[in-house]
């Protein structure tokens, strides 16, 4: 369990808002981690097979931390939160559930996501809620390795061949609108911003993310730049699509088997 003993008690409304916020983030990490793990045994190089398996493990590790913190705050069970909720209850952004597609799509999605995650974790390192700040500081250091990996691959694909460049541009074109939605305002986010638990609203993080993404797009295909100007859709429940229905069925299969699995 993650200890919240040293944190001041939260009133019911703040606690509920924090649980909602953390759960959406945990779901992002869990779902993307499962997509990453789908490359195990299938990546285009043996090195990438190892890399994506390891990255998947890191993302699931981050999800575990967040589910444990949520469980502590809501007197729940982290395994239930991760693996025994109906598909309609998950709150991840749509971009992480998209099928992996080709290698360019995989790299573009992960790089855009990790840059967004870096913006989020950087500000949460200064959260007024000590347990959350600790978790964020923990993640930042591990994410350095992911960012370095994806930056190298982004450049290889961009500068490799006309085909790799075109595939990277096509993938990025498809991914930018749903990636912007990572910064959709969370329900009751304002309650958390007001007391410094979340030091910065999602809208301000979007502006920060755009500063990192703009030079990437300029060097790849400047026609992609206007896609950054779309307004993010707020994070709330949305209909469960076929892609996530299938992923949810797979990632919960062992838990649902009743064989008594443990993390």
């Amino acid at each position: 369990m993650i200890s919240t003993d040293d944190c001041p008690p939260l009133d019911a409304a703040t606690r509920a808002a924090l649980v909602t916020y953390l759960l959406a983030w945990a779901d992002d990490e869990l779902v993307l981690g499962h997509r990453d793990s789908e490359w195990t045994g299938f990546a285009p190089q043996i090195e990438e097979d190892v890399a994506f398996s390891s990255i998947a493990q890191d993302e699931l590790g981050h999800a575990t931390l967040l589910y444990r913190l949520v469980a502590e705050l809501s007197d729940d069970d982290p395994d239930r939160l991760a693996l025994r909720r109906p598909a309609a209850d998950y709150r991840h952004a749509a971009v992480v559930e998209r099928p992996n597609g080709d290698w360019a799509h995989t790299i573009a999605r992960h790089y855009l996501y990790d840059l967004a995650d870096a913006c989020r974790t950087d500000v949460l390192c200064d959260s007024s809620y000590a347990a959350l700040a600790g978790v964020a500081r923990k993640m930042v250091r591990e994410e350095h390795y992911h960012l370095m990996h994806h930056a190298v691959w982004w450049e290889r694909l961009r500068d490799g061949t006309p085909e790799s460049r075109a595939r990277l541009a096509d993938a990025t074109r498809a991914l930018l609108p749903p990636a912007v939605d990572l910064f959709g305002e969370m329900p009751s986010e304002r309650v958390l911003v007001a007391v410094g638990i979340v030091p910065c609203p999602s809208g301000a993080l979007l502006a920060e993310w755009c500063l990192h993404v703009q030079p990437l797009l300029s060097a790849l295909d400047p026609d992609l730049l206007p896609l950054l100007e779309s307004a993010p859709a707020p994070r709330h429940s949305r209909p469960v699509g076929q892609d996530f229905r299938a992923l949810h069925a797979e990632m919960t299969a062992v838990s649902a088997s009743g064989l008594g699995e443990r993390w």
Binding site: M1, I2, S3, D5, D6, E47, V50, A51, S53, S54, I55, Q57, D58, E59, L60, G61, H62, T64, L65, A130, A131, A133, G134, V135, R137, K138, M139, R141, E142, H144, Y145, M148, H149, W263
Partner: protein
Amino acid sequence: MAGKSTVPLDTLWAALRDVVDPEIPAVNVVDMGMVHRVEAAGDGRVTVEILPTFTGCPALDLIGRHVRERLEQEPGVAQVDVRFVFDPIWSTDRMTPEGRARLKGFGIAPAPISRGRPLAVLQAQPVACPFCGSTRTAIDNLFGPTPCRSLYHCLDCRNPFERFKAL
């Protein structure tokens, strides 16, 4: 406050040196820098604060259980509470010199001192082969078989080897 029946902290720290990461059995949790604080109360209750290493490490819960089970064997210990804490953050900089030496003996090159900037040191410093000591080495993969290791090979003795990632 400590009463007469409080178990000496030295005894508890010594006992913790028997607990190892099952994937790196050469290095105990104290030399790994994972034990932040040990407290003993007069009624036999012991609290241990453990700093998790890599978040994706599946061994964490097992290590927590082994810490509890090992300390419960000490005379006078009635109950052990293992807490995972993130302040301070565990870093490879916390590994003791003895831990680093044992890691190298196990065939894993220790991480360089990172001071919170692991990638800067990764690019700046040559990596010594844990088998022959040569610094003519090349990285094959930033990622390895566990979340804590990268893959290298030595251009002189030709051995592949792993290196603990700086965190």
